[in-house]
């Protein structure tokens, strides 16, 4: 047990070291969401007006963009195991006297931590779009972000154990990330879109993450929750948390299992 904890901690610690060393990556990861928020958001928002009483377009996409940041960062970090394989470092990890499952767990936690840090950085820009955040809301947002990050990070780790070549990796990544972002309700309310899109969005696990973040962020604005409805049932915050947590749990277990079996 101690051995497994130490293993997971070490892998997590390495991710933190790398994150800290790579400050350029940090800036790069924040620029894209901010572009969406300020350029895309302001431009579209000026044509649209309020989406719901008291919520303009920028304020609507703000929680979505936090979700997008968390989703992209954690997914990419999880999948970065592929790079470790390519550059050989994975071998050092695989012959180390720590269990493979703890490596997968540590990697997921590392990815999630980095993702939450980057999401929190975006959160700091809230005042610039007149988005009021109570301290209690922030305190609820962080675990919401973390849940989404764990789900996507472990999904990334699982995927990385299956992708063996860089060519496959480069082909698959954009095919997965972009649909996952665009079909998760980051930029528009899912229930307002065409049926086929809302069906795909509801299959996309990331949707529940962005919805949770939006529900929490807008909890102070009455009637502006943009709830999902699944088979005629309006999804409460806890319903969404349940689905995302279940998905995260399955991904973690599959990721640990798949990691243990690779040679």
């Amino acid at each position: 047990m101690m051995n497994n904890l130490r293993g997971a901690y070490t892998i997590w610690y390495r991710d933190m070291l790398r994150f800290w060393r790579d400050k350029m990556r940090l800036i790069g990861a924040v620029v894209l969401p901010l572009l969406f928020l300020f350029v895309f958001g302001s431009g579209m928002g000026s044509m649209m007006g309020a989406l719901s009483p008291g919520v303009n377009f920028s304020q609507f996409i703000f929680p979505g963009i936090i979700g997008m940041t968390v989703l992209m960062t954690s997914f990419m970090s999880g999948v970065s195991v592929v790079w470790d394989r390519e550059f050989g470092f994975l071998k050092e990890v695989l012959v180390a006297p720590i269990s493979r499952a703890s490596v997968a767990a540590g990697k997921t936690l590392g990815a999630a931590t980095i993702a939450v840090i980057q999401g929190a950085i975006i959160l700091c820009f809230a005042p610039l779009i007149d988005f009021s955040l109570a301290p209690a809301t922030v305190a609820l947002l962080l675990p919401s972000m973390f849940l989404l990050a764990v789900a996507m990070g472990s999904f990334g780790v699982l995927l990385a154990t299956r992708i063996k070549t860089m060519e496959a990796f480069q082909a698959i990544m954009p095919m997965l990330t972009f649909p996952m972002i665009f079909l998760s309700g980051v930029f528009y309310p899912i229930e307002a879109g065409p049926v086929w899109m809302s069906v795909i969005s509801k299959i996309n696990p990331a949707t529940y993450g962005t919805t949770i973040i939006r529900q929490v962020a807008l909890r102070g604005v009455p009637g502006a929750t943009f709830d999902l409805s699944l088979f005629g049932h309006t999804m409460s915050l806890w319903d969404n948390v349940g689905i995302l947590a279940a998905f995260a749990a399955v991904m973690i277990l599959l990721g640990m299992h798949s990691f243990s079996r690779q040679e």
Partner: protein
Amino acid sequence: MNDHIITVENLTKKFGELVAVNGINFEVAPGEIFGFLGPNGAGKTTTINILCTLIKPTSGKATVNGFDVVRQQSQVRHSIGLVFQDPSLDERLSGMQNLYFHALVYNVPAKIRQQRIEQVLRMMELWDKRHGVVRTYSGGMKRRLELARGLLHHPKVLFLDEPTLGLDPQTRNRLWEYILDLRESEGLTIFLTTHYMDEAEKADRIAIMDYGKIVALDTPERLKDIVSQDIVAVTTDDNDQAAQEIQQRYQIETRRDGNELVFEVAQGEKFLPAFIREFKTRILSVSLRHPSLDDVFLKLTGHEIREESAGDTFKAIARRHGYRTRR
């Protein structure tokens, strides 16, 4: 239990149809430098990967430091240090951070961690560069860092898979000085694979591997006794006629190697002057060699071991598909 630090019994590994390792047996004594010699694709790396628990054998048994490589993976992993054929460093971290990570993973106690790291870095003459990012290191520095890392947790056995591949001769020599010093000072057992003959000769014992089997296992000296005679290579105006003449005059079989005619004689230094005086066919060149492991390999397997080249990569592939490329 026995006194051997590594034991291997009937070890076999198949990848689908391909038998990479075919029922090999050997033992390694503590403090020994044990070399695996063979061409690419002979099964050396596969054997190392089994011994260091990276892959599981199809059948057979192997122990390292008394621990079974399948059932006691964690204990085996604690007992061994590794330098892989390909680099396995985190290139975005510093040398120091790479070692710190390793110390954490191998549970080197916090109290002695810094001291150990400093010790191995100084030994490998990397202390001054410890804060540099590994990406900026030269090939030789990376290898030294890997060697330092492999020693950090005081393993019982150090596995070196083609440790000097792609390094220039000077760096190779330096690396070998370090390795020999380590055996001297730490009493470490060293298990290495190579396809450089001169490197294999530094081992106490050598197992010659070909097509997944061990074809010979002995000290370099005794292996060279297999080819007890000196080797003469001549080129002549007419090699067919020369071969016939050698057969008639000395009752010696010759062998073609390119445009050379190769044959073995006892006491080559005494043979040559008379040979050149008496020989009727015009000789263009003549050379005399004492047997090397290359010749041993050739004698045992019927084909040559060569350093990696495009042609050999092709041969290795052909070999994997079961086509033998014999002369």
